[in-house]
């Protein structure tokens, strides 16, 4: 059931309208952040307005004029888009609060530019989530790459510049080199259609070889999904301030990548067609390779943010792996993992930032014994780690459960083994951090007092990370909403 509605437009535009407001109040930081909050809450409110309609199985759509023959710029809100938008916009509010604490705590420069680009990126993210056809998706994907560039290079030093260069060259390069021709090929092959219909855009007349090339071009071309070999932008983008890493590199940007891959599998090809052409195995192998290799690299990283970045690469590959099983459990697991990983990973990034604000420490080896000084932060870190690993009672357990079921259902025992190995590796690179923080004493230096006082980061940092940590718990207890939205995708 498709229904015309203005709400998707408003949801998208509200963070765009925040930009002039933020610029207007650039001299008054409190008013400026007030505008960001206002926009964030309005956005979440409008998403909640749409939620009941989507749960009834309706699809809300809004069309701008046709920009190419037969292809309008179109918003079309379905279950998957709703799920993603819900996650992104609710975490935006928390991240705004967090960045307020972080940026002011560190007295960062150019805060106005920071918040402007943040609002722009959120708008682009919602644009991707609601995109009704490939062209709309592509346009917002590119806008997202460009609008996050100033955030990644925020510090403006040499390291930030080279990080930014890797970032843009990987993301723009792959999208122009692979996605654009693949999209035009689809446009031609389908006779001038790019809409994500419930069935599939392409049909069997594409043939197995061409199908595989197009599928690979899309999957690797949406390099925001961090699949190897186009993953190296992500660790390099960790030069950004931590709130940026948190929202954009654990939630918005990378999830846009896997979201696009999901769309390609379910909307452009349709899982049935991929099964018929028998081309999903290659994607599974790429994803499995990425999972194992990135986890192994994560083990060797001492810089906490880089370790988390490699962990993200592995977790994103889970999502791609899940959808490549082509079973309804696998797809459900992938969609769920977008949400559960978002909550888990943002908690970890928030913690990394809070540790940096409070103590200036960046490296895992420096964090021994930190639990006494920052108990709340480290407890949240533990929660987040457990959720990423996929242990109950945290949300991550559900998505991994479904991914595992999907692997079994698809008769892919090797992939099930990969999932298990990866979980063990996750334990190995995440859990030692909170364990060492709580159970080992910090190395003593001469003249240092025995007692360690509690010294947490500012409240604006601690509150959001506590909320997201608890959020991971709640996702385990109340996963119904996520399921429902994820299953709308597989229901015919």
């Amino acid at each position: 059931m498709t229904e015309f509605s203005f709400i998707p437009l408003f949801t998208w535009i509200v963070s765009l309208l925040a930009v002039p407001g933020i610029l207007l109040f650039r001299k008054r930081p409190d008013a400026r952040e007030g505008i960001t909050f206002l926009a964030a809450f309005l956005k979440l409110g409008m998403i909640f307005m749409m939620l009941p309609l989507i749960r009834e199985g309706k699809i809300l759509c809004f069309k701008f004029g046709e920009i190419l023959p037969g292809i309008p710029i179109e918003f079309r809100v379905d279950g998957l888009g709703m799920l993603f938008a819900l996650v992104a916009s609710s975490l935006w509010i928390l991240t705004t609060l967090y960045s307020l604490g972080y940026m002011r705590g560190l007295k960062e420069h150019d805060q106005t530019r920071f918040f402007v680009c943040f609002a722009l990126s959120l708008s682009a993210t919602i644009g991707v989530a609601f995109a009704g056809n490939l062209l709309t998706l592509y346009i917002f994907y590119e806008i997202l790459s460009l609008s996050t560039y100033p955030l990644v290079t925020h510090h403006g030093d040499k390291e930030a510049r080279s990080g930014g260069r890797t970032y843009l060259s990987h993301l723009l390069g792959t999208s122009v080199a692979f996605v654009l021709p693949a999209m035009i090929y689809c446009y031609w092959k389908s006779g001038g259609d790019l809409n994500f219909t419930d069935g599939s855009l392409l049909s069997t007349n594409i043939g197995s070889d061409a199908g595989l090339i197009v599928l690979l071009a899309f999957t690797l071309g949406f390099a925001k999904s961090g699949l190897m070999p186009f993953h190296s932008w992500l660790p390099n983008a960790m030069v950004a301030p931590t709130p940026v890493s948190a929202l954009l590199h654990a939630v918005a940007v990378v999830k846009v990548g896997v979201f696009c891959v999901l769309r390609v599998f379910t909307g452009v090809f349709g899982t049935d067609l991929i099964a018929e052409l028998d081309i999903a195995a290659v994607i599974s192998y790429v994803a499995a390779f990425t999972i194992i290799v990135s986890s192994l690299i994560a083990l060797t990283q001492d810089n906490l943010k880089r370790r988390l970045a490699f962990s993200t690469i592995g977790q994103l590959a889970y999502i791609v792996l899940g959808v490549s099983f082509l079973t309804s459990n696998g797809v459900t697991g992938s969609a769920m993992h977008i949400a559960t990983h978002a909550f888990g990973k943002i908690t970890l990034f928030f913690c990394a930032g809070a540790i940096f604000v409070a103590t200036g420490k960046k490296y895992v080896s420096q964090m021994v014994g930190l639990g006494r000084q920052m108990p709340v932060t480290m407890l949240a870190f533990l929660f987040g780690s457990l959720s990423i690993i996929g242990l109950p009672p945290f949300g991550g357990a559900w998505s991994k459960w479904y991914l595992f079921l999907g692997a079994l259902e698809a008769d892919q025992l090797a992939m099930a083994v990969v999932l298990i190995i990866s979980s063990i590796l996750n334990i190995a690179y995440l859990l030692p951090i909170p364990i060492n923080a709580f159970f080992r004493r910090p190395p003593q230096e001469d003249g240092q007092a025995e007692t360690i006082e509690i010294k947490e980061a500012p409240m604006a940092c601690v509150v959001p990370l506590s909320i997201t940590a608890v959020g991971g718990l709640l996702l385990f207890l109340f996963p119904e909403l996520g399921f429902e939205l994820a299953q709308l995708l597989t229901k015919k």
Partner: protein, 511 residues
């Protein structure tokens, strides 16, 4: 009234040129106003021509010069023929001329001191020539008009700095060879058909079924070679980079976007109107293959040569060479989308080249350095100029919603449809190289140190810092830049209707 539009578009700047020369002796300060008015009127008329041609009542405007009566046999007099394609290009020419005149307000006096009236007279004559090329329906008259544009542009280029004279001389040699090749081709056609009117040539070729005839094939090859030389199709591009880079800035900003594009228009017109798709694409299947691979070479070579340069104007001129490859390749792909895409690219490339050339000229003028170092810290120092530059650059890279994205879209889909993957890869390669070129510049402009500000000093609020003063150029240069970048976006948004008009017009010609 409508039926007189084509000739009025030509007459207004022609008389404008004469008046400017006469005025120049007594009141040199009036030259700018006079040419602004004459080009404004001319572009207004061509705008109404576009509307008239689109309105449905008039699909094609025909105007007999000198009122020659219609004879039973061939046309004797010169005929002007304006359909939607011609109308769009003529509007582009006159409008760019008009906007460029605004830009030249302060520059003309500074760069061609003492020759201001001649500059304005020549530029108006150049516009007359270009519009004539686009509208005339007479193959020999086309040659005459090509010569008019060549002669005026030699003079305009030579007005530039010291190296301009030599560049202009190179251009004279190459331009003369190109024009002579074209003339030889027309000569063959005239011998075989006995007429010079383009419609009549086509008619005779068809009636007498001369397609297989050697001299027709030779004529076609000569005309193509001539036109390619004039449009700087690689490897015949040698004259272009220096000519446009060393010319006075307001000459460069006018010629870079238009001269090559008008010649591309001539090529498409010769292919479609005189010889027809069947002859061009089907009779010698090897031709298409060879020309497309040549255009692949042009695109790749142009992009790489641009990448290797550090002078901003040189970069832009080599990009033109690559863009010419886009259009030649597209129009030779032997299918409707390719031709129409190449035609759409004529308009979009004109807009974005205009935009980039103005921005580059402004920056070179303000910073006094034409190397890419000039861009250091410019986002803070000249934000408005950089916004204009960015729009043009994003269009060159091909990001939506700029027109560059849509022309790439059409050209790539034509390449895929024709199954010519080499061409598709070349287009993508060129996009990527353009991205490297321009993001390198953006990085400088965004992070680069601004002279006078201490290193590693990042002010918390740029407008509160006294060291960084926003130092923009006068409005007479900024307004043209914004008109240009606005039209880059407008062409992108309007691409669908434009493309449909172009496709319909091309289809009509071919039946």
């Amino acid at each position: 009234m409508t039926e007189h539009f084509p000739v009025l578009i030509l007459l207004v700047p022609l008389f404008g040129a004469l008046i400017v020369v006469l005025l120049g002796r007594e009141r040199p300060d009036q030259c700018w106003v006079t040419s602004l008015i004459s080009l404004g009127v001319s572009s207004l008329i061509s705008f109404f021509t576009v509307i008239a041609v689109l309105s449905g009542k008039v699909q094609t405007l025909r105007y007999r010069m000198g009122g020659w009566p219609e004879s039973d046999g061939y046309e004797v007099g010169i005929e002007l023929r304006v359909d939607i394609l011609a109308a769009l290009v003529v509007f582009a020419v006159t409008f760019v001329g008009f906007v460029n005149t605004i830009y030249s307000k302060t520059r003309a006096g500074a760069e061609v001191r003492g020759k201001v009236p001649f500059f304005y007279a020549l530029i108006q004559l150049l516009i007359v020539g270009l519009c004539g090329i686009v509208m005339t329906n007479d193959a020999f008259n086309l040659y005459v008009l090509i010569e008019i544009t060549s002669l005026t542009s030699y003079a305009l280029i030579a007005m530039g700095n010291r190296r301009a004279a030599l560049s202009s001389f190179n251009y004279v040699i190459m331009g003369t060879i190109g024009a002579s090749f074209y003339l030889i081709g027309v000569g063959y056609l005239y011998i075989k058909t006995g007429t010079l009117n383009i419609d009549d040539i086509r008619m005779v070729l068809e009636q007498k079924n001369l397609w297989e005839h050697q001299s027709i094939i030779v004529a076609f090859i000569f005309i193509m070679l001539g036109v390619w030389t004039k449009m700087a199709f690689f490897p015949l591009h040698g004259w272009l980079p220096n000519a446009y880079a060393y010319a006075p800035s307001m000459t460069g900003t006018f010629m870079a976007p238009l001269m090559t594009k008008v010649m591309v228009y001539v090529m498409i017109r010769v292919m479609v109107w005189i010889f027809g798709n069947e002859f061009v694409y089907s009779s010698q299947p090897m031709w298409g293959e060879i020309v497309i691979w040549m255009s692949v070479l042009a695109i790749v070579a142009g992009s790489l040569l641009a990448l290797a340069r550090t002078d901003i104007k040189k970069i832009l001129t080599y990009l033109i060479v690559a863009e010419v490859g886009y259009m030649v390749g597209g129009s030779w792909l032997a299918d409707g989308v390719g031709q129409a895409g190449a035609f759409y690219h004529i308009l979009s490339d004109a807009a974005m080249t205009f935009c980039l050339f103005i921005a580059a000229s402004i920056i070179v003028l303000r910073v006094g350095d034409s190397r890419v170092n000039a861009f250091d810290g410019l986002f803070r120092k000249m934000p408005l100029t950089m916004i204009g530059f960015t729009v043009g650059a994003l269009s060159m890279i091909g990001l939506p919603p700029t027109c560059g994205f849509f022309s790439k879209w059409y050209l790539i889909s034509a390449g895929i449809e024709a199954g010519h993957w080499g061409y598709v890869c070349a287009l993508i390669f060129s996009s990527l190289v353009n991205a490297v070129i321009f993001f390198r510049i953006f990085e400088r402009a965004y992070f680069g140190k601004i002279s006078g500000v201490k290193e590693d000093h990042f002010p918390s609020d740029s407008d509160a810092n006294p060291d960084i003063r926003i130092k923009e150029v006068p409005w007479s240069m900024l307004v043209p830049l914004f008109i240009a970048s606005g039209s880059v976006l407008l062409l992108g948004i309007m691409n669908r209707s434009l493309f449909e008009w172009i496709q319909a017009a091309l289809k009509m010609m071919n039946t």
